[in-house]
């Protein structure tokens, strides 16, 4: 259950981007979370809501872009998705693969109410 500390890190990062003097608050926070990031999105959203209560981030919506696992095969050089925990190339079946997507854990952007 490390989602609480992750939510704290998200808030710390977001706070640096709220324009000074803003009163409207942050309306949404967009994140990118990979399938292999080990994050339970519901828990993260719950923790985020709990720790932003009473702050300029209160009520901000957490929008999550879910990133499926994808690999590049070092044998046939093709890209494919990884399904059902089978970490092999979806084209040639090779095991020598590089994960190219699915580990993301990023804050992408925020939507700020600036009265405009």
């Amino acid at each position: 259950m490390h989602e609480l500390s992750l939510a704290q890190s998200v808030v710390e990062i977001v706070q640096q981007y709220v324009p000074p003097g803003n009163h409207g608050g942050v309306k949404s926070v967009k994140m990118k979370i990979g399938e292999l990031s080990g994050v339970v999105v519901d828990s993260l959203a719950f923790c985020f809501e709990a720790i932003t209560s009473g702050t300029p981030l209160e009520g901000a919506r957490l929008d999550v872009e879910h990133v499926p696992l994808r690999c590049r095969c070092k044998t046939c050089n093709r890209e494919s998705d990884i399904h059902d925990n089978v970490f092999r190339c979806g084209v040639c079946g090779g095991a020598d693969i590089e994960i190219i997507a699915g580990r993301e854990l990023q804050v992408l952007e925020i939507e700020v109410d600036d009265g405009g």
Partner: protein, 219 residues
Amino acid sequence: MSVVTIERKVLEKNDEIASRNRELFRSHGIFAVNLVSSPGAGKTSLLERTLEHLRGKLPLAVIEGDVQTDLDARRIERYGVPAVQIVTRGGCHLEANLVRDALDAIPLGGVRLLIIENVGNLVCPSNYDLGEAMKIVLASTTEGDDKPLKYPAMFRNSSVLVINKIDLLPYLSCSLDTLRSNALQINPSLKVFQTSCRTGEGIDAWCEWLVSASSEERK
């Protein structure tokens, strides 16, 4: 409404500190490993066996991570090895800054191998880089042979798998072949050892590998 672009990694602060830890290990020629498993898989028992074996052969130090108590560090100190306990007080994993602070209490000069025993947990520690050269995941036969499929991130992010408690196989429905093949399905490059901390089986091979990996690190 206006949109502000951020595009930053949530764990960037941890990752920065981990990079500095890694640089520190490199400059001292220390092979640092992050030992992970579920609670009760036998991390501390494996450490004890390892210390018995490597005492006097390879200078090492240990960082122990636990939610509560310094029981594990005390178990390790009996072997005359520098051991620092990190008590996370509820935290389910070690973070790079906790390791950095613990390093202050270890005389690093001369240490060749640093074993960081993480909090028993197969989920959260997989996210947090501590600056280690590699993660080593321990899976015990009593946990069943399906654990790699249930916790793929940990097995994918590890370089070595130690299958422990193999002496109990006759009493369990766990299949060693299935456990191995499930782990290798998640991560075909895993190096696999099989050990019993009770009988000592497999400890020789595991320790020999630690010695050679530590000497590789110095090159």
